[in-house]
């Protein structure tokens, strides 16, 4: 029974027997040691939540490879992550008011924010610019050039840690 957990069983398809059906990782209390020819992938609790870690060769600094949640669909506000972890936010605000505050979730500290105006009725060749102001935590305000009045989108791209 124990071998069949996570593995194709001894009496199953001989081509795959011994390979893995999944890797179910149970939390480790400490980072596993790695020799100069090894790497390790493992589960460690961060704030009580299991996360996948990668430890490079020779006991180098472990890297967190996952984040507790993700939102990726066809809606206008989403986030994912990259190793670190850093949270990558993206989304679209339609017809924001001047100075509108945008608060992103999940809560982090933003280290990068960029805005760009799209689909504006001032196109082409008229000034249409937006910048983030009052950046604090995961919030920022949208300030844009006054020539724009309606029917435009602001895309945001942000990174949090």
């Amino acid at each position: 029974m124990a071998f069949a957990d996570n593995h194709v069983g001894l009496t199953q398809d001989d081509e795959f027997s011994g390979m893995h059906t999944a890797l179910t990782l149970q939390p480790q209390m400490a980072d596993p040691a790695t020799s100069t020819t090894q790497i390790a992938i493992y589960n460690k609790l961060v704030g009580g939540i299991p996360e996948m870690f990668f430890r490079p060769r020779a006991n180098q600094t472990p890297i967190q490879m996952t984040y507790p949640s993700i939102k990726a669909d066809l809606t206008t506000t989403q986030y994912s992550f990259v190793a670190g972890p850093f949270i990558i936010y993206g989304g679209k605000i339609t017809n924001p008011t001047q100075g509108q505050t945008v608060t992103l979730t999940p809560g982090t500290t933003l280290i990068f924010v960029d805005l760009i105006i799209a689909n504006s009725n001032t196109l082409p060749n008229q000034i249409a610019m937006a910048i983030p102001t009052n950046i604090a935590g995961t919030s920022f305000d949208i300030r844009y050039h006054a020539v724009i009045t309606s029917n435009f989108d602001v895309y945001y791209y942000a990174v949090g840690i």
Binding site: L10, D14, L25, N119, N125, Y155
Partner: protein, 204 residues
Amino acid sequence: MTTPPYNPNVPEFPSDDLATTQEQLLNNFRQIYDKFLVNHTSLDSGSDAGIHTIVQLVEQEEPFQTDPSEISIYSKDVTSQADQIFLRYQGNGQEFQYTNYQLYALTSNQFQTKFFSFLPGKILIYFGSIFPKAPPANVLDLSPYISKNIISISLCPIGPTPGYKPNVKLLAPKAGVYQGIQLFSNTGVQQVPACYYVIIANVV
């Protein structure tokens, strides 16, 4: 000579006659050794015994179960893609696609250098630089053409003199897939400046 298959019914009872079952017992131990050797360092390899050599994940049909404090990593088939790595959070929580599509070098041209990668969650990230000319060479190409939802756009003007950041307009998707983003000058008197760009998009 191949080892006979593993027989889980040997031994079956404490009263089994060893003289009768010995051959199958030896076969079973041989099978255990051989199958454990798949993806793992062999049982007789000393201090490294039991460590994984590689991990081959056989395609799964359904999300894998996770108990509290566990994470599961497995592979599933994805329509229009090869098998991809999936993760599932603890307690049978959220499942998401960790790898996405396939990565290969894109062909750049004099107007655009192109790169792409992925983020967990079936998200593509396009990046590179664009050197716009007169239309239609002011269109930022989004190949490979698989993105169904543009999540965000970031442009940073580059070049010998400062320039306004362009504004943009999404070109209408073709068969539900976005293929390009049109860039416009923000002043009307200057050409659209060259820019570094980052585009994030869904392929769902």
